[in-house]
Amino acid sequence: MSMINYASREINCKLVYYGPGLGGKTTNLEYVYNKVNPETRGKLISLATEQERTLFFDFLPVDLGSIRGFKTRFHLYTVPGQVYYNASRRLILKGVDGLVFVADSQAERMDANIAALENLYENLADYGYDRISCPSCCSGTSGTCPTPCRSTNCGISSTPWVCQEYEAVAVSGVGVFDTLKAVSKLVLKSLS
């Protein structure tokens, strides 16, 4: 749940990028980091292995500025995609306000997309979060595939996932901001 600090008049919202390994979650954050005004974002923190695979999370704070007296800030997190880091993924989901599911558009990763989505359901349920009411977006993307891909083509259309869908390519940035804008707006709408 978004934290509204009345004493300091701040609103902090937590957005989590979730999905299978090597799908482009970290690349999404790196693209955002490189493109937004440096004055509005903080340091990009990556807790990664020597092979640059996410070990715990990536973190990027983005400042929306003061809106009607409330300093509004988004905290963007990624989770590790590799299956054996589930404890870390579950930790990062705690207090989530909005989700971006980054599906991998490669045909051979369809099963991984579905497994990651089912894993997301389980981890949300562990915290008692309702996956239907959690503001969510889904982008079909791949670090190696240059073609934008609809997430319905990524194998998850067969699952009961309710979200807005975007075509994206994380490396070139296609759809990255469309997805971020959409989930941010959904989260802020949920506050009003």
Binding site: M1, S2, M3, I4, N5, Y6, A7, S8, I11, K35, V36, N37, T40, G42, K43, I45, L47, F56, F57, F59, P61, V62, L64, G65, I67, R68, F70, T72, H75, A87, S88, L91, I92, K94, G173, F177, L180, K181, S184, K185, L188, K189, L191, S192
Partner: protein, 122 residues
Amino acid sequence: MLSAAGDRADLDETAFASLASADFAASGQLASLLGEDQFTSLYHHGAERSMFVADISGAAILAVLFDTRTTLGMVRIKTKSLCRSFAEQRPPGREGPSGQVVQMESDWANEAESEIDRLFGE
């Protein structure tokens, strides 16, 4: 981050708060693997600066940074009463001063949406 105080000129507070909370959350999972409910505090020892993190009733954490001018024992003593005092206060959440759950005005959401378009417009 709820609040910060003291000499912190060279500290990225947002990054620090994010990492400290993740560190504490991870330690909670380690505790449960060992059959403990929670580790109530954490200590990281550095050559010049050290860090002590303590749980405040499961609702917040208190991180204390200190250098070689004091000792861990002193920090623990001071922190204990401070945590008790903080625990008696209501942590900030989505509640206004009178305790009711607050919804932001629709005008606020409209303005926020415009800001999102401006900030995230390429």
